[in-house]
């Protein structure tokens, strides 16, 4: 039965200004006052969100009186996008299920990707090993212990060709967690696509390409901020022109969070980074409506379910407002806060590790209630090692059950309008904005990173969190409550790296170097050096070098000589 217009008006007034019930004649304000007086005689356990925001025992129309139903909450797919970036949300298309994966050589990872796609994964997320992320070849003495460990080893275009052999690039969206060397990996991916006969304008996917959080939290920086930011703008500029559907930057808060930041800090620091990138692009003369639609975001979803939902809703609203009001964006796509999430990370425990399955499932639920575009659910054994095929499958199935059995995907922003969720969304938006304004006053994110301020705040928060766990103020099931001896942990079947991987990868690199045209490599590297010294884009010579099978170490070697390396500030 459809409500009549009068009923609609009354319902509307109850939510906003009138607060008078037509049934009883009393105002809600009076009723709530009476109720709260009754409450004052009772003992309540104080409660806070994981970010330390104090919580009321219940939320009512009074809690959201100051919010405008249209200007603050609005409709999905419309400014300020509080309720989602698309009007149809998951009824249009289910989120992308993209499990971060990669290890060993390109050959082994290619097998894993094909297997994941066969299991119903809908995108590929490439984990790269540390030497690749740091611009070192697999035969570099510094790289020896890390080849193929936390991701796949990529030295030259040949490895990227193997990685995507038999995987049609035009029908799968690929995300690369790559930062310092993002321009090189992008060049390799574009070249492989070209050789598969796929036009660059058809390619979808993401490179992380977010150096600022590397200085703070993840540690795969190479060059100082200024040339790093220049390389980032080069890739963004290149993608606008040549690969307009490829997200050339994914501003990541996830690593702040996993390093210890609260949900509020995670959101604030991420948007402060994004503001820096927007400013750099504008300084290059790029139009905000042209480049901002290519910006996406990446976050960790941790355990506090409602705070996570509110964080994503607040993020959408705050970003839309910043883009429109601060940067003058006019195209709605330039105001959309599209984001992927990862569930797991530092919330996973080594104790009773199968409890992690439950944690990750709740985190995935929160992500989807928050309107995520892509979700990565970590496997329960990732507190120890890279997942086995079996645990990786369960992690993917966790999302599939959520998507196809629970009904959560049927309605856009199902928690929208909840007094609590709206009040918390508003609170997080205000808290995050005040951190952003403080960073602005301190000269912006780059200077706050160079002084080590952000690093210190995150480390202190991590320490406080650990102390709360050890003092029992923060319960972790199986760790400080309901813990027991676990002799069975010794018997866990964990993934192990094939010890021959490093040698195989070094042999492959030697083979490529022996077969390529070394004059073409030298010429390309010289062009790259010239571009680095000028103010020209470095993308064309990087593409040239990649096509000539120059290695990542050779390409970064030139840039290291020209730009030097970042000096880590003292941060404890």
């Amino acid at each position: 039965m459809k409500p009549s217009d009068t009923e609609m008006e009354q319902a509307g007034s109850l939510l906003t200004d009138g607060l008078r019930s037509s049934a009883t004649g009393q105002t809600f304000t009076d009723a709530e006052k009476r109720w709260r007086e009754r409450l004052s005689s009772k003992t309540l356990t104080p409660a806070r969100t994981s970010s330390g925001l104090e919580l009321d025992v219940v939320y009512t129309p009074e809690s959201i009186r100051h919010l405008d139903p249209l200007a603050d909450i609005g409709l999905p797919g419309e400014y300020p996008f509080t309720r989602g970036v698309q009007p149809t949300m998951y009824r249009g298309r289910i989120w992308t299920m993209r499990q971060y994966s990669g290890f060993g050589t390109a050959h082994e990872s290619n097998q894993r990707y094909k297997w994941l796609l066969e299991q119903g994964q809908t995108g590929i997320s490439v984990a790269l090993d540390l030497p690749t992320q740091l611009g070192l070849d697999s035969d570099d003495p510094q790289a020896v212990d890390d080849v193929g460990r936390v991701g796949v080893a990529i030295d030259t275009l040949a490895d990227m060709e193997t990685l995507f052999a038999g995987i049609p690039i035009d029908s799968v969206s690929t995300s690369f967690t790559i930062n310092s060397t993002a321009a090189i990996l992008l060049a390799m991916y574009l070249t492989v696509a070209e050789r598969q006969g796929v036009a660059p304008e058809k390619i979808t996917g993401t490179i992380q390409n977010d150096i600022l959080k590397e200085y703070v939290a993840r540690g795969t920086w190479i060059f100082p901020p200024e040339p790093s930011l220049r390389l980032i703008v080069d890739t963004i500029e290149y993608c606008i022109k040549h690969a307009p559907r490829f997200n050339s930057i994914s501003v990541a808060g996830a690593h702040f969070r996993d390093a210890g930041a609260t949900a509020v800090q995670e959101l604030a620091f991420t948007l402060a980074d994004a503001i820096t990138y927007v400013e750099c692009c504008r300084n290059r003369g790029l139009e905000v409506d042209k480049f901002a639609p290519l910006i996406s975001f990446y976050f960790y979803t941790h355990n506090d379910l409602f705070e996570e939902v509110a964080k994503y809703r607040a993020g959408r609203r705050l970003w839309a407002r910043l883009m429109r009001e601060r940067f003058g964006a006019r195209d709605p796509r330039a105001m959309m806060f599209r984001f992927g999430v990862v569930c797991g990370g530092s919330t996973l425990t080594a104790q009773q590790p199968q409890n992690n399955i439950v944690r990750v499932a709740y985190q995935a639920l929160a992500s989807v209630l928050g309107g995520a575009q892509s979700v990565f659910t970590a496997a329960w054994d990732e507190a120890f090692a890279i997942p086995t095929e079996q645990t990786a499958e369960l992690a993917l199935r966790t999302q599939q059950v959520l998507a196809y059995e629970t009904g959560v995907a049927n309605v856009a922003d199902p928690l929208g309008g909840s007094y609590f969720i709206e009040a918390l969304t508003d609170r997080i938006e205000r808290e995050a904005l005040s951190i952003i304004e403080r960073i602005d006053r301190l000269g912006g994110m780059v200077s706050c990173i160079q002084s080590g301020l952000i690093q210190k705040e995150i480390a202190m928060e991590a320490y406080r969190h650990q102390q709360r766990i050890e003092h029992g103020e923060q319960v972790v099931v199986g760790v400080n409550k309901f813990a027991r001896e676990e002799p069975e942990r010794q018997q866990l079947q964990l993934w192990e790296l094939d010890p021959a991987v490093g040698d195989r990868q070094r042999q492959e690199l030697a083979r490529v170097k022996a077969q390529r045209d070394n004059r073409a490599v030298s010429a390309a590297l010289k062009n790259l050096r010239d571009a680095a010294r000028s103010n020209h884009s470095m993308m064309p010579p990087i593409l040239e070098a990649v096509r000539a099978y120059a290695s990542i170490g050779e390409i970064c070697g030139v840039l290291r000589e020209e730009f030097g390396t970042f000096e880590e500030p003292a941060s404890i």
């Binding site: 212990d145 460990r149 936390v150 425990t349 507190a383 202190m460 404890i572």
Partner: protein
């Protein structure tokens, strides 16, 4: 008799950039009254051995989350032996260490292993115990 404060070098060997654990442990050891030096990221094992000798520490605490703990720990211990300091400087290891590798690390010569999930409150007492035992051994020689 009041004993000299324990000095420890908290170090990140290899290419792994995850330093949350290293920093949290550094804070905790400092609060427990130890003198803590932190190397920062991406130190080679040679740099770590040299820093430990220069800083005159009792203990090196390696933090490794990349899976490369066996080879990196071995190199640090070999470096200390080559420098003739293996008796003065103990090596302890923390990070993402699968249960099966704890014993292997001890066999290589790690004085203690603190895998993911070790409470902070367990780390300082264990380190103090190791240092006290070594100092006593030294004096009795």
């Amino acid at each position: 008799m009041e004993s000299k404060a324990v000095r420890i070098l908290v170090a990140k060997p290899g290419l792994d950039g995850h330093d949350r654990g290293a920093k949290v442990v550094a804070y905790a050891l400092r609060d427990a009254g130890m003198e803590v030096v932190y190397t920062g990221l991406r130190r080679t094992t040679d740099e770590i051995v040299k820093a430990a000798i220069d800083e005159d520490v009792d203990v090196i605490g390696l933090s490794i989350l990349s899976g490369a703990h066996l080879s990196l720990t071995q190199k640090v211990i070999e470096g200390l032996k080559a420098a003739g300091c293996a008796d003065e400087i103990a090596v302890v290891v923390g990070g993402t260490i699968p249960p099966r590798d704890v014993e292997s690390l001890e066999n290589i010569g790690a004085a203690a292993v603190f895998p993911t999930g070790t409470p902070l409150s367990a780390i300082a007492p264990k380190i103090r115990e190791i240092v006290t035992a070594r100092r006593q051994q030294h004096e009795s020689r």
